[in-house]
Symmetry: C2
Subunit: 109 residues, 2 copies
DNA sequence: ATTATTGTTCGTAACTTTGCGAACAATATA
DNA sequence: TATATTGTTCGCAAAGTTACGAACAATAAT
C-alpha cells in the first residue's frame, strides 16, 4: 500500500473559498459588495436575475465560507465583505497563482 | 417588474474557473502540475488520497474547465497546465480581488 | 389592530458532485 | 498468445446544489 498525503490545510481553505465563488451570482455579489457602501439585501437582489429566496441562499453560502457578514438594521439587512477572510482568500489565491510564475507571462515581474 | 441584469461573460467565466478549483483534490493537482515537469497520471494519483477513478474524474473536470490538457504517451498519459487559460484565470482572479483594494491592506500598493 | 415592507426559512423538484470497485481498452512484455 | 501496466469509463449510491413559490417572522406605518 502506498502512502497517500492528505490535503494541506491551506489547500482545503483555498478550495472552500473557490467553491464559494463558484457561481456567477456569488461572484456578482462579492463584486458588488466590494464597490458599494450601501449593501442591503434588496440592493443585492436588484442586481441578480434570481428570486429572493435564492439570493438569500447564496448569501448564506458566502457567509458560511466567511467571505461576508450580515447585520440586521430593521427592517433591512446590511451585508458587508468580511475583510479578514477576504484578505486571506486574496493571499491564498495570489500565492496559488504565483507558483505558476516559473512559466509566467503576465503579472509576474 | 424590475429589470434584472444577466451575469457578465467575465463573471460567468470566473465562476467557472472558481468552481473547477472548488475541491482540494483539484487545487492540489493544479499546484502539482505548476511545479513539475513530469506530470503523468500516476504521479498525480500518488499525490492524492483518492481512488484512480476519482482522480480521473477530477482531471476531466479541470480539462473541461480548460485549465489543463492531457496527451497520451502510451502506455501513459501526460497532463499539463493549459497556460492560455491559466493566465486568463489568473487575470480574472487578480482583477476580481483588486476591485477590493479601496479598503485594502495587503497586496495593494 | 391592520397593513406593508423586508428578508429568512420551508418544502419540493431536478440536477450535479463525489466517491468507489469492477470492467474495459490499449499498448508493452514475456 | 498470455500477462502486466496504465488510465478511462460504467454503474451505482450518497450527498450536495440550485431554483422557486409559499409561508413565516419582525419591525414600521396607518
Amino acid at each position: 500500500m502506498k502512502k497517500k498525503r492528505d490535503y494541506t490545510v491551506d489547500n482545503e481553505q483555498l478550495a472552500r473559498f473557490a467553491k464559494a465563488l463558484g457561481h456567477p451570482a456569488r461572484i456578482t455579489i462579492m463584486e458588488f459588495l466590494a464597490n458599494q457602501d450601501s449593501c442591503f439585501f434588496g440592493d443585492i437582489h436588484d442586481e441578480l436575475p434570481i428570486a429572493k429566496a435564492t439570493v438569500s441562499q447564496h448569501l448564506k453560502e458566502l457567509k458560511d465560507a466567511g467571505l461576508i457578514q450580515g447585520e440586521i438594521e430593521p427592517p433591512k439587512v446590511r451585508y458587508c465583505v468580511n475583510m479578514k477572510n477576504w484578505n486571506l482568500a486574496k493571499n491564498l489565491f495570489y500565492d496559488f497563482f504565483a507558483s505558476e510564475c516559473i512559466h509566467g507571462e503576465i503579472h509576474c515581474e
